[in-house]
Homo-oligomer: 165 residues x 2
DNA sequence: TACAATTAGATTGTACACAATTATTAATAT
DNA sequence: ATATTAATAATTGTGTACAATCTAATTGTA
């Protein structure tokens, strides 16, 4: 059964938000509180917003932060590989990486073997930033106030869905 | 316990992605695959992307779609109330509502009682769009391929978190 | 070996998001 | 009654996102 129907059925069973039987049956699926995507969209924005004060301290935006995570891990990769890891395309990454290059966090060089590839490599300064960033996840977690169980379950469900992208 | 630690502990228990004991203990929290925010951010973008073909049919963006949902429900409200419902501020809403007004979906009028308030009211054309939109949730659900259980659990966890915003 | 198809990035254009600031109006506190 | 404060939108500036298009390099193939 499709996920939207579950949510709608769940709402109907609880007897909430129904105006008339007919209107409820036909349009309840168009109510904000019955959406699955809307809270996902809201929660994602909210958590990025909560990262901001911590990321400001090390002068990174959230997108730059996840790009650094990829680089702390891989050290060197091309734009395509980075895009696959972050689920971002060149339209987003090109200007982002140029800014990060200006900040001295990485270098951008065309590959000798295949000139189509742009190699992105972390610098010493980029590596050093890891030391400053390492306290962020714990400090963020402390201000999220989500139970251990919810966090684990959420992680599990989202990763299952990401596998289908 | 903070949610990030749970994820990290979980990862450690599973023995994945550890390089050395020291490095694992110190930096595992900075690995993309140990983040809770990252999959949330990716999944939210992905679902909005999957809405696009359906929303293109009725010439709405995702943000305009959730604004219409609020209007289909409330018929008339001011920008502040709309912002509270959608978790968006006037910087996002002002240009969005102007575009929707141009499309004839709503009207924007200053309140007589309190000139600070801008009243946003749905038009007949806006109401009529509901009829075209009503099949979207089901059609979207069909292409999400998320289990009934996951969808319900996800809905529950996200709403619990939204309650803390 | 020409040449079509593919691939990787960059560019362009549109649409958010949101912080910070400003302008207007309303409420309130002397 | 006036000065102060608060509330509400609008504006400005920065930073994503992503579709569509373009260019250059590489690969596959007849």
């Amino acid at each position: 059964m499709a996920s939207n129907e579950i949510i709608n059925n769940k709402m109907r069973k609880e007897g909430t938000h129904m105006k008339t039987v007919k209107e409820g049956e036909t349009y309840d699926c168009l109510r904000l509180e019955n959406q699955l995507c809307f809270p996902l969209y809201v929660c994602a924005k909210e958590i990025v917003r909560r990262y901001k004060p911590f990321l400001d301290e090390i002068d990174l935006t959230y997108t730059q932060y996840i790009a650094m995570m990829a680089l702390w891990d891989k050290k060197k990769l091309n734009v395509k590989e980075l895009g696959d890891m972050l689920f971002l395309d060149s339209g987003t990454l090109t200007p982002l990486l140029k800014k990060m290059e200006e900040k001295g966090l990485l270098t951008r060089t065309r590959s000798k073997e295949d000139e189509r590839n742009l190699i992105v490599e972390i610098t010493d300064k980029g590596e050093a930033l890891k030391e400053e960033a390492k306290t962020i996840p714990e400090r963020l977690g402390s201000c999220l106030s989500m139970s251990e169980e919810d966090a684990g379950k959420l992680y599990e469900i989202l990763h299952r869905f990401m596998g289908t992208i």
